[in-house]
Symmetry: C2
Subunit: 222 residues, 2 copies
Amino acid sequence: VSRDTERRLGPDKIVSSALAIADAEGLAAVTIRRLAQDHGVTPMALYRHFRDKEQLLDAIAERLFADVVLPPTSRAAWYEQMREVLAAFLVSLQAHPKVAELTLTRILASEPGLGLAERAFALLAAAGFSSEQAAEIASQSLCSLVTLVTTEPGATEDPAHRDDAMRAKRAQLAALPPEKYPHITGAADALTRCADRTTYYDLGVDLVVAGMRGLRPTRPRR
Amino acid sequence: VSRDTERRLGPDKIVSSALAIADAEGLAAVTIRRLAQDHGVTPMALYRHFRDKEQLLDAIAERLFADVVLPPTSRAAWYEQMREVLAAFLVSLQAHPKVAELTLTRILASEPGLGLAERAFALLAAAGFSSEQAAEIASQSLCSLVTLVTTEPGATEDPAHRDDAMRAKRAQLAALPPEKYPHITGAADALTRCADRTTYYDLGVDLVVAGMRGLRPTRPRR
DNA sequence: ACCTGAACACCGTTCAAGT
DNA sequence: ACCTGAACACCGTTCAAGT
């Protein structure tokens, strides 16, 4: 029986190979026909498991959310717990940088995504935000993490030419007229992130959490 | 002569019709072949103005940045000026919500985008951030505005069925098990944003600016 | 019940010709 | 110099058959 379920097609296996293809060659390489070929089956066989390609992409995004291992609730301050929740989401996104963009519009579209959102909402509600504000702040903050990964310099290129691409981009920025772009030319290194990836992500999370804390004293609008 | 330049094809005109198509039918409807047909020309004629489709998308994103009318420099506090800069970018994004996503990875890829970024960098540098921090904080903040527009409930659907789609989504969230998702079910209205769009965007900008202000006392890492 | 084959209406892009 | 036509190698998806 287990051998039978092993060789059965199944949505989970399709999503797994879609992730593998996307990680290696980018989201554009994820194709109904390509997936069918990799599984030795006709393209139409996939339509038994997904109504259309949109639903396949939904399932891929859901997998990213499902991979998030949420930290246990603790007695730490709400913003410390929030930092851990955000860090957990970040780990899952960083595992599939080329796929991360799919989650941007699908947080509330699957059970694992809802679980993550609910957790963030709860922490903000505990911090004293109204439910409307908590909902929007949590959504926006989760999206900020997604863009952090999505726009990380070099995250989208394949590792073979990544260093070359980053060097070229940095040179291009450094070559801009410094009288017109004094800050950009001065920060060309930081913008192409030859610096530490950890520093990049730490600052990103810090900024998001700082926004929440800074907004907290605000009373609900009348 | 002017009649001649009027009927000439030109990249600007192609970008304009691409924007019109995207606004009406979504980015997926923007196609080399479709653009060629609308201009009564063969698909290959477009390759005289753009090396490939990627470069066409670059040009569309550049147009959004070019449409930003930056506020004049003033003697207001840096965070007040920042708020105005962010608001100006937001206006341009809101004019083409279905196209906004293109800007996410292209801020530093065109002259108008560089101008916007330089302006934000300058304000953060004036606030006392190191150039590395200013660069990253500005980038992340501009991206936050993009996702604000990109993920605005109903922004991506056409206005005809927008209300229906939002109602359906809200009902779906409200119907979740409240013992598992107490905050989501309680904030279903806010999450599908039947509330005021202005409130939504104001809070979004507030959150971003609060993050900057909250992070400011931080000394550069050693 | 589950999969297939052929076909339809599209894509972006190359290449060799035309004028 | 500028545009065209035909072709190539793909897409997602429908529909009628097969077993």
